[in-house]
């Protein structure tokens, strides 16, 4: 098979990087706006109990993390990780002039834009763009979303990430119809839109084959046991790809259903339990394969919810929220990064943010992925002191 020259370049470029020992970021997106106040509960706060007469989690049920804050009981598997010193909670994460619409706020988180700015590329996509010019190479599989469609987060200018639910499914898609044969003709195409389509096709075929071969020749199945729900399956796929020593540096998964306007309690608990079970299984797996210090999981949602519950035993769209970091060799002291939300000091009933989410991105890009955060984010955001 003739390999187009631009593919050759990155296939060669990959040989020096990746593999065991390199740092990997896994992003878990909770879509719909997870209620942060019922996730990490300020269980000594009277305002919390006053504003949520039927939704507040009773003090005695909370899984205390310190004197003031504790996890929702559905997060007990995550509490185990916390007790092992693997979890870092960052409170009050948000951005100036918060937008309360799902799609817009998600846009902002995925593109790392300001609230009055519309970007067409995502922060992970621009991380890939930056890596394109360096030793990392330009292959789509440098960032993998375990899904059927690709999020804006993983779209760059020069390169897009790769969406796959599992390596075999994508591989089969590239074997169907005329896909493979057409991809082989890409080298003769021009840099116009036709050339772009063929280049994308060739990269897709090449990346699909790479990921499939890689997973086929090393680990077919992880030994770890995962819960049978969708997030469990997806993190299992992430684990298998990591264990296959692919050069993928960023994995992206999402779980939806957090838009709990009505009868929140059961719905949120079910989702939080799934989340915690899946992350626990994943970290146990990483531990068992000696990768727990190489892999860092970041979990976010597009916004938190209002402090005051609504009339339907639910909560409406809010602003600042907590972000979880798990693994990554974070120091074992000070699991909770900052102060709990200040419920005395709200803005029109919503939490005020104190940590810009782009500071978290900046920290992960610079200190974890060893990239130029300022170039990728388009601005300098103060880094958080996570590894000291």
């Amino acid at each position: 098979m003739m390999i187009p020259s631009f593919l050759k370049a990155y296939e060669l470029g990959q040989m020096n990087v990746g593999a065991a020992g390199s740092k990997i970021l896994v992003v878990i997106q909770l879509s719909g706006g997870n209620d942060g106040l019922n996730t990490v509960i300020p269980f000594r706060n009277d305002i919390y109990y006053r504003e949520r007469p039927s939704l507040a989690i009773a003090r005695e049920k909370v899984l205390a993390l310190n004197d003031e804050m504790g996890f929702n009981p559905a997060l007990s598997p995550l509490k185990e990780l916390y007790d092992e010193g693997l979890v870092r909670v960052i409170n009050n994460v948000g951005y100036p002039n918060p937008d309360r619409s799902h799609f817009r706020s998600m846009d902002i988180w995925q593109t790392a834009s300001s609230s009055d700015q519309y970007l067409q590329t995502g922060w992970v996509g621009r991380y890939m763009d930056a890596a394109c010019s360096g030793a990392g190479g330009c292959a789509p599989h440098r960032a993998v979303e375990v899904d059927d469609t690709l999020s804006l987060s993983l779209k760059g200018n020069a390169v897009n990430g790769l969406a796959l639910l599992n390596p075999k499914k994508l591989y089969n898609q590239t074997r169907g119809g005329m896909v493979k044969e057409l991809a082989q003709t890409s080298s003769s195409k021009t840099p116009d839109n036709l050339g772009y389509l063929y280049k994308t096709l060739a990269e897709t075929v090449s990346s699909a084959a790479y990921v499939y071969d890689q997973s086929a020749k090393s680990v077919h199945q992880t030994k770890g046991t995962y819960p049978a729900h969708e997030l469990g399956k997806r993190l299992k796929t992430v684990s298998e790809l990591i264990q296959s020593d692919t050069v993928t540096r960023v994995y992206y998964v999402s779980i939806s259903g957090f838009d709990t306007h009505v009868n929140q309690a059961g719905q949120q608990e079910r989702l939080l339990r799934q989340y915690a079970e899946a992350v626990k299984a994943f970290m146990d797996d990483m531990k068992a394969t000696n990768r727990q210090d190489d892999v860092l999981v970041m979990t976010f949602s597009e916004f938190g919810r209002r402090v005051k519950q609504n009339a339907s035993n639910g909560t409406d769209h809010g602003t600042a929220n907590n972000v979880f970091l798990v693994g990554g060799g974070l120091s074992s002291s000070g699991h909770i990064y900052n102060q709990p939300p200040d419920l005395d000091n709200l803005e029109e009933g919503d939490l005020k943010f104190s940590v810009d989410f782009r500071s978290i991105y900046a920290t992960l890009l610079a200190d974890w992925l060893n990239a130029d955060a300022q170039a990728i984010l388009g601005n300098k955001f103060p880094k958080l002191d996570l590894w000291s």
Partner: protein, 481 residues
């Protein structure tokens, strides 16, 4: 065969100014393109609103979240309402795509698609959405000044950009900012300052809508003090801001540039193209923003038919699917199939990603969307099994959109009618004729051989036409127009 070559200009026109040509239209049309353009602009059928829900339903459809906050709805009633609303908007979406695919008044629908992306708006009240869409469609080929004023007064837009909350003592600048940044002058134009936005927001105070979904000017919430906007001072109202914006030549430049990118090419950096757009914009401004006049200048210009322009544009998902429907005379039996395709490919009509609309162009394409586009003819025309699931965006109000429907797409399609358009084409010219009808670029040898191999041996002429069509539609080249 000579006719086919001549028809390349026609195919280009049909694709750029509409949603492609059926073989019938394309093979039988013998008028010069100028005549066809005139007919497209002629509004032969008159404007027909699309209606899926009665206007008096606006009150009832006050957004469910608000009703929850007021404690006025119980859980089941809310769920039902959310579902009904989403279904109405879905029905409107499907009706609109079917209208695009019908081949009637195509330039209006094409430009309405452009204006929907330009005046991007996304709300949950189906009556407001329907009214907004019909306003955009009604003025699509009319006068931009009228369109801008009408859209600015749409309840959907006022709600989406928070002008309902823009009051004398608590101004909300969102609407004023987007009107300048996205609707008229452009973010990087340097034609306005933060101070202009502040005072424009004050001028728009009081613009809102009532419980029946009608625009109202609420005098008691209007700030009638003096404002200074673009160096002019007066007791301006919202209408004055629109007028001041239209007086600026930059508005004509900005709109013309965007229309050029939509209809002609995204490449606008060369001096030649820049001066071309400048000239078009000047005439547009002089014509007091006559959209039809601008379109006529573009669609009848020689440069519009330049071979470098033809086949250089990536079809948007809606153009792709409406085009397939129109070319083949195809109808989806389940509405959900059309929504599923839009969702998977990243363009759900009436649900734009944000007020800036869909970025378009190469942004439509990534590994998964390209593979799905190439698989689409197989799914639609050969009942291939659908194995993908688009992700949910987390909003309970749009859960309906992420549903896949059944694992097979059921369509109605009369292959005999499609074939009959080619009845005068000799067998050995069928491939050329179909390729010329469907593909905007000359095919290379490898592609030709691959198509012939994929289409395989056919037992009949009809089967051969079908197989060639399906194979041609699976090419990357078919993604272009």
């Amino acid at each position: 065969m000579e006719n086919i070559i001549k028809s390349e200009r026609l195919r280009h026109l049909y694709w750029r100014a509409g949603f492609g040509a059926s073989p019938e239209q394309w093979l039988k049309e013998d008028r010069p393109v100028k005549k066809v353009v005139e007919e497209m602009l002629g509004n032969k059928h008159g404007f027909q609103p699309l209606t899926v829900v009665d206007a008096d339903q606006f009150v009832r459809n006050k957004t469910p979240k608000k009703r929850i906050a007021e404690g006025g709805l119980n859980r089941d009633a809310i769920k039902m309402r959310v579902k009904e609303n989403a279904e109405h908007i879905r029905d409107l979406n499907v009706r609109w795509v079917e209208k695009m695919a019908s081949g009637e008044d195509v330039l209006r629908e094409k430009m309405a698609l452009f204006w929907h992306g330009h005046f991007a708006c996304r709300v949950l009240n189906p009556v407001a959405v329907q009214h907004y869409l019909n306003t955009v469609r009604q003025h699509a080929l009319g006068n931009f000044a009228d369109l801008l004023m009408a859209v600015s007064k749409e309840p959907a837009m006022l709600q989406f950009l928070n002008n309902q909350q823009n009051r004398k003592n608590a101004p909300n600048e969102n609407f004023a900012r987007e009107v300048m940044e996205l609707f008229t002058l452009g973010r990087s134009s340097g034609e306005y300052t933060e101070a202009d936005i502040k005072d424009a927001a004050r001028a728009f105070t009081g613009w809102g809508y009532n419980v029946s979904g009608e625009f109202i000017f609420r005098q008691n919430q209007h700030d009638d003090g003096e404002k200074t906007i673009f160096g002019q001072t007066g007791q301006f109202k919202g209408e004055d801001v629109i007028r001041l914006l239209l007086e600026k030549k930059q508005t004509a430049n900005f709109i013309t540039g965007k229309i050029y990118q939509f209809l002609v090419s995204e490449q606008t950096n060369s001096p030649e193209v820049r001066s071309r757009i400048k000239m078009l914009a000047e005439n547009f401004y002089k014509s007091d923003y006559n959209i039809a006049g601008l379109l006529k200048s573009i669609l009848t210009a020689d440069w519009f038919y330049d071979p470098k322009i033809r086949g250089s544009r990536i079809k948007s998902p809606v153009e792709l699917v409406a085009g397939m429907q129109h070319t083949l005379g195809l109808v989806f039996e389940q509405k959900q199939s059309l929504i599923f395709i839009q969702r998977t490919l990243g363009q759900v009509l009436l649900y734009p990603p944000n007020v800036a609309g869909w970025p378009g162009g190469r942004n439509w394409i990534d590994s998964s969307s390209l593979l799905f586009r190439m698989k689409l003819p197989d799914l639609v025309l050969k009942s291939g099994e659908v194995t993908l699931q688009p992700k949910q965006d987390g909003d309970v109000n749009t859960e309906l959109l992420a549903r896949r429907g059944s694992d097979l797409m059921h369509v109605k399609l009369d292959w005999n009618a499609f074939e009959s358009a080619f009845s005068e084409i000799k067998s050995d010219q069928l491939f050329e004729a179909l390729a010329a009808c469907l593909i905007p670029l000359p095919l290379e040898k490898t592609q030709r051989e691959l198509i012939l191999k994929t289409a395989g041996k056919s037992s009949s002429r009809g089967e051969r036409i079908k197989n060639l069509t399906i194979a041609l539609m699976a090419l990357p080249e078919y993604q272009l127009c």
